[in-house]
């Protein structure tokens, strides 16, 4: 009776470990995709900070005193988040960070669309202002938000065997 219970616990534990491994693979794959997107977007903006500052100005949200600070701080932040998404111990913080910033990006884009602005969001380098591109980029933000939230929730330890 006791032996059966012990064997049952062993099977349950093995199943949970197997599940946690498959969860790890899914989270790793999505993290690598997110990391590639954020590193690419960050490097592109680091190379042209002035164009990115002009893109932020076009949103007509921030006062002039904050525009260059954001234009200088956000691109390295995206690159750092991308790098932190690759490592397992740092993935959770990076995923929370990308979740928060994608919400901010979406809010800014949605506000510009609602105000009837036509602009180049500067999300992936500078280009021609276009409303159709703004809609596409807002959609991409939703996808990135979903992926970030998925990685964050998957990175939270679920059982005592996963606790660090």
């Amino acid at each position: 009776m006791v032996g059966g219970r012990v064997a049952g616990c062993g099977r349950e534990r093995a199943m949970m470990i197997r599940r946690s491994f498959s969860r790890d693979w899914a989270a790793l794959a999505v993290s690598l995709g997110l990391a590639a997107v954020f590193i690419y977007a960050g490097i592109d903006k680091i190379r042209a900070p002035l164009q990115f500052a002009d893109s932020i100005f076009a949103f007509a949200i921030l006062p002039a005193a904050f525009i260059n600070l954001l234009a200088l701080g956000l691109p390295p932040f995206e690159v750092v988040c991308g790098l932190l998404l690759i490592g397992r111990p740092t993935r959770r913080i990076a995923a929370l960070a990308t979740t928060i910033i994608t919400v901010m990006f979406f809010a800014a884009l949605a506000s510009a669309l609602l105000r009837g602005l036509t602009l180049d969001c500067g999300c992936f380098g500078s280009g021609t202002p276009s409303r159709s591109r703004m809609w596409v980029e807002a959609g991409l933000d939703v996808v990135l938000f979903g992926a970030s939230l998925f990685v964050y929730l998957r990175s939270i330890p679920r059982s005592r065997w996963q606790e660090p």
Binding site: A48, L74, P76, I156
Partner: protein, 212 residues
Amino acid sequence: MYSLRAATLIGVGLAPTMLVALAGAITLARAPRAQRGASRLLRDLVGFALVALASLAVGLMLNRNSSRPLPMVYQTPEQRFDAELTAVIDAPPFKVAPAATVGLGEFRSAVDNKDTLILDARPSAFFQRGHVPGALNLARDEFAHDYRDLSPRLKAFADKQIIVYCSGGECHDSRLVANALLSLGFGNVRIFTGGWDAWSAAGLPAAAGSAP
């Protein structure tokens, strides 16, 4: 206007953080077992803030070592251009009537006849990727530098037609450069509003690299 902007800024910047903090507080209040989760979320938010501060420090350092650092307070393209133009003519820009515009057909015949000076007002990186054949790069964001370089060739066209273009759509570079040239005494300056977008969309020939 600024209060509206400030309200939007607060909404965009603080709302997500407040939502996460609220979710954390609710989780904490709901069950004592969730305290561990709430403290984890708090740790993650602290980590987020530290990463953000470190990234800002890196960005400021990169800017300090850059060949063209950004000033701490943002200047609009018009303000930067006024400064560039002032560097050329050593006086504030004059106010002139806006330059006339041309359509794709007229622009194309001017390019084919080679009797018009075609100027590309986009940044040099865009010019090098692709431009109208025969065009010279008088970039709006490098106006003083490019104007000095092109000065002999521009002076040869002082009484002839000059057409300026930029990306197209709502780009302002061609308008600013055209008006600056009118201010500098060039009599016949016009703008091709369709710009590079209309030219390339029509499948017309393109050149790449620096101008000869």
